[in-house]
């Protein structure tokens, strides 16, 4: 499959200094690509660095090391204002908490139009208004909502506002950082359906960060699993769920509760023990079968490959 790379992340590192001799390596050498038009899911437990990754890519943090190439152009490092502006139009973010990510003192109109104003996308007030109305319709709200304030909306509606704001500057790439985990189950499905529909209509590319594995599986084309600042496994969504290879991925998958009582009664949980790896050799990210990457040592690599072949032939 030949796919156009939209985003190339190369050896991205984000270290936080918490005083002398205390450095938290939140993201430690990530390398992966995101293809145009796909949804890349990033999963892991809290504290594994998945949100930091998203925030470093979009420059909310200044990365410690590494490159992020957007259409072949590095977006990290020093930039002047015009360069930043150009980049900011192409990449947008939807945040986790729809309560704290909307300014309570701004009307919906101003919140959504902020990006339009900054980038000068509307010639006059009429056009600005028309654009906001159109965006509201796109996300399933209507134009009467434009003059209200965020507190007048429910969680699901606020998340729709967050999406409308991200869409306002016609971005190509959207980072969604746990966009549904603060919402109720029935509303989650609404927002996910909306995101999928927008992707189809506008050809958007998503980086979808979440800890709800069943939702990630549903929305993503490819999934990366993070553990302590590193990617441990990366594969197509189907492949990852059917043939997880890394012991951490297996333990994570075995922990998802499914709405199926009989299955739950017989569930066997796999416990991950990091000491099972051979620490004498630094593990590397290797491709064990086409498009399926695992962090492993050379010995584990051979084992995984053998296992893999057995499952294919059986």
């Amino acid at each position: 499959m030949s796919q156009e790379k939209l985003l190339e992340i190369k050896n991205l590192k984000q270290h936080f200094k918490l005083g002398r001799n205390n450095v938290v390596k939140a993201v430690d050498g990530l390398t992966f690509d995101i293809y145009k038009g796909e949804t890349f899911g990033l999963v892991g437990e809290s504290g594994c660095g998945k949100s930091t990754t998203g925030r470093s890519i979009i420059r909310l943090y200044n990365s410690t090391d590494g490159e992020v190439l957007f259409k072949g152009e590095n977006v990290q490092g020093k930039k002047n204002k015009t360069e930043l502006k150009k980049f900011n139009r192409q990449m947008q973010m939807i945040f986790q908490d729809p309560y704290s990510s909307l300014n309570p003192r701004m009307t919906v109109m101003d919140i959504i139009a902020e990006g339009i104003d900054i980038h000068g996308l509307a010639k006059n007030a009429e056009e600005r208004k028309a654009k906001v109305y159109e965006l509201l319709e796109t996300v399933g709200l209507n134009k009467e909502h434009a003059n209200r304030y965020p507190h007048e909306f429910s969680g699901g509606q606020r998340q729709r506002l967050g999406i409308a704001r991200a869409l306002a500057v016609d971005p190509e790439f959207i980072i969604a950082d746990e966009p549904i985990s603060a919402l109720d189950v029935s509303i989650q499905a609404q927002v996910v359906n909306l995101m999928k529909q927008l992707q189809k209509e506008k050809g958007l590319t998503y980086l979808f960060i979440a800890h709800d594995l069943s939702m990630v599986k549903y929305i993503s084309d490819r999934i990366g699993v993070m553990y302590f600042g590193k990617l441990v496994e990366l594969a197509d969504a189907e492949e990852l769920y059917k043939n997880p290879v890394h012991p951490y991925t297996r333990s994570l998958l075995s922990a998802i509760p499914l709405p199926d009582p009989i299955y739950e009664r017989n569930r066997k949980r796999i416990v991950y023990d990091p000491s099972q790896h051979d620490t004498s050799e630094e593990p590397e990210f290797r491709e064990i079968s086409p498009r399926h990457w695992v962090l492993c040592t050379s010995k584990e690599f051979e084992e995984y490959k053998k296992e893999k072949q057995n499952t294919v032939t059986n």
Partner: protein, 350 residues
């Protein structure tokens, strides 16, 4: 009270006085809790599930929250009419609660051991040494390693999962007969969640308490519950054994909840989402509160609230679709497919 029931709730109505009017948070809820069983209450935020349990514990915020109608029978005594002093003898001793957020339900300025001992000293009138011994026992029960040294630590020195274990140990301190767990695992990661759920099931087997488990995660319900009550807009819309509700759901709202969760196998293009938002409980709709969001709604749904229809001895659902004159309606395709896909014939693995 029936013999094997430990708790009976009859037509419970709870309201809150607010500036914009009276919010009818719970609008006539009836259920019973049997000895040693786990009853899960599921529903969205605002469906009244937490308020119901607050009423059980006598913890409704005063003065604006009050029980409007109905009774809660525990040991043949009506809790709703009890004086606060008598309630204090029950709360924490006979009935204990595990809260959602282990970060805020512990006192940050008190040592963990002291917090676990608090209930023992107060309710069981143990001496300090005895209480300490019991606290160490409890910490062993909830599998906190090195209890002797950890009881001298403060909550911030514990991880989220460990804190929730402390909260569970506190709740179990006086061997309560009823344990109410209000979203105990929502703030935790999936792997930690799985550990805590296993722990709770283990402990239940050992100490034989009844558990009321509140959650909005149907996966968790399938894991822990014997029976399930589905709440919507302050009412129970469906109640039954876990198998009945998951494999033979009758209420359209239950269909919606099940349909809006993707399965790991599912490839369907669109999730079956419930349109719209829950109703305003200051002025609840005249008929079935779910009617406006329900594509299977009948005309009568907008006029009259459905009673509980009996499906089996243990399974009831409040939907007019179960009336003998109602048209035959099948659950939506995606929900039917999902139930069929749960193949549990011998040897089926996933």
């Amino acid at each position: 009270m029936k013999k094997d029931n430990i708790l009976e709730v009859n037509n419970l109505k709870v309201s809150f006085k607010t500036h914009s009017g009276e919010v009818q948070a719970v609008r006539g809820v009836s259920f019973d809790l049997k000895k040693g069983e786990t009853l899960a209450i599921v529903g969205e935020s605002g469906s009244g599930k937490s308020v119901t349990t607050k009423a059980l514990m006598g913890l409704l915020p005063q003065p604006h929250g009050f029980v409007k109608e109905g009774s809660i029978l525990f040991d043949d005594k009506d809790i709703t009419k009890m004086k606060d002093k008598n309630m204090q003898a029950i709360r924490g001793k006979e009935m204990a609660m595990i809260f959602q957020d282990p970060m805020t339900s512990l006192n940050p300025t008190m040592k963990v051991g002291t917090q676990i001992m608090e209930g023992l000293l107060k309710h069981q009138k143990l001496g300090k040494e005895e209480a300490k011994k019991k606290a160490i026992e409890l910490m062993n029960l909830v599998q906190i390693p090195n209890p002797e040294s950890r009881m001298k630590q403060y909550p911030h020195q514990f991880s989220g999962g460990m804190r929730q274990r402390v909260v569970i140990a506190m709740a179990l301190a006086c061997n309560p007969r009823i344990l109410i767990a209000d979203e105990p695992t929502t703030a935790l990661d999936v792997t930690i969640q799985a550990q805590i759920l296993e722990l709770m099931k283990d402990i239940q087997k050992k100490v034989e308490t009844s558990i009321i488990f509140i959650t909005h995660d149907l996966g968790v319900v399938a894991n822990v519950a014997d029976r399930v009550a589905v709440m919507y807009a302050g009412k129970i819309v469906e109640i039954g054994t876990t198998d009945e509700v998951f494999y033979n759901p009758k209420h359209p709202y239950t269909w919606g909840l099940l349909g809006s969760m993707p399965t790991l196998e599912s490839d369907e293009e669109e999730l079956f989402a419930i349109p719209g938002t829950p109703p305003d409980l200051i002025a609840p709709p005249q008929g079935d509160a779910f009617a406006a969001r329900n594509k299977f709604a009948l005309e009568i749904d907008f006029v009259e609230q459905p009673p509980m229809f009996k499906v089996s001895d243990t399974h009831y659902a409040a939907t007019w679709l179960l009336h003998e004159n109602a048209p035959k309606v099948e659950p939506p395709e995606s929900v039917k497919k999902r139930i069929e896909s749960m193949d549990h014939s011998e040897g089926a693995t996933r």
